[in-house]
Subunit: 191 residues, 2 copies
């Protein structure tokens, strides 16, 4: 329509954080209630989940019959059921995003990538959580042999499967893929 | 690779919830710590955010120069900055997802849709939150006149802008769109 090059400064959208009260601190999450003031002066409360951040990996195999993508299927307590998702995981202390992507891909799929290309840093639900996932395209995948030991966290129980790109798109269109980061990853698979 | 028609029952992925302890209950969110037992018998704790759920709307305008999509730009306290996002919002009590989509689209953009087509119900971050967003494609958009009153919540301060599809895809590829539900929506715009 018109000017898309709006600067953050000129927008009058910025809110000022007046007060932060921590209400929970757990092993993974922290929760605060923040009092904010908008540019117009009105005050509001925001409940904010703090998450260490993580990665999501789009692992593309080049097979004889064309490209395939590795997904994992895993039970999700908040969903109350297993979901098909791109491999993903939470940043560990002292680890870079790229190191995390390599570690998680190997742990979850037993494939090691020769290339990891950063595509985007995405907010999973920026209305109430600061969680950022860095999405990597992983190519040059090599299957680790049975002699190569891979440590899998004890509480992760999952199934790995590869899907041709076209089948994946069809699954998404039919509502068989319901994980937000995976749908975001599919955008980058096809663009 | 092989059999993609795995049933949930046969997977041995399902976890049993043994205990739920509520640690926070706020205006928007609730947080519980759940003790779960996997099929193999190992126990683990899961921190779970409970959210009322909501909608995200992909509003497509058919202009003289082709399709354009409406985005809103809004400050996000957890991100600490304004983001470009598809219009979205939280379900109010007694409201269906479709009613919520119509209300939020009108409130945020002043456009009223004649068609709302459900595309998917997505989990924003199923590792720790039960938030589900129902994504609707909104077409047949009519701009409300200035005489038609629209109530906008006092604490929502936003900018509305329309973008040609190709520009939006380019923005996403360049990392200018970082909201997960919006990237997921772009997948459905182009598939």
């Amino acid at each position: 329509m018109s000017n898309h090059m709006i600067s953050d400064e000129g927008e009058n959208l910025v809110e000022e954080t007046l007060e932060i009260t921590q209400v929970f601190s757990g092993d993974l999450l922290e929760l605060t209630v923040n009092t904010v003031r908008s540019a117009s002066g009105s005050k509001a409360k925001r409940e904010v989940v703090h998450h260490p951040g993580g990665v999501v990996i789009l692992p593309v195999l080049s097979g004889d019959q064309g490209e395939e993508v590795l997904l994992v299927r895993q039970y999700r307590e908040p969903a109350g059921k297993p979901l098909w998702e791109l491999p993903a995981g939470t940043l560990e202390e002292g680890e870079t995003e790229k190191e995390c992507a390599r570690r998680e891909l190997i742990e979850e799929t037993k494939y090691s990538p020769s290339n990891l290309e950063k595509k985007v840093e995405l907010f999973t639900s920026p209305g109430y959580t600061d969680e950022i996932l860095t999405l990597y395209l992983a190519t040059g995948l090599e299957k680790l042999g049975p002699s190569e030991e891979v440590e899998t966290p004890e509480d992760e129980n999952l199934i790995v499967e590869s899907f041709p790109t076209e089948e994946l798109i069809e699954m998404a269109r039919k509502g068989k893929i319901t994980d937000g980061k995976t749908l975001a990853g599919l955008f980058f698979l096809t663009h």
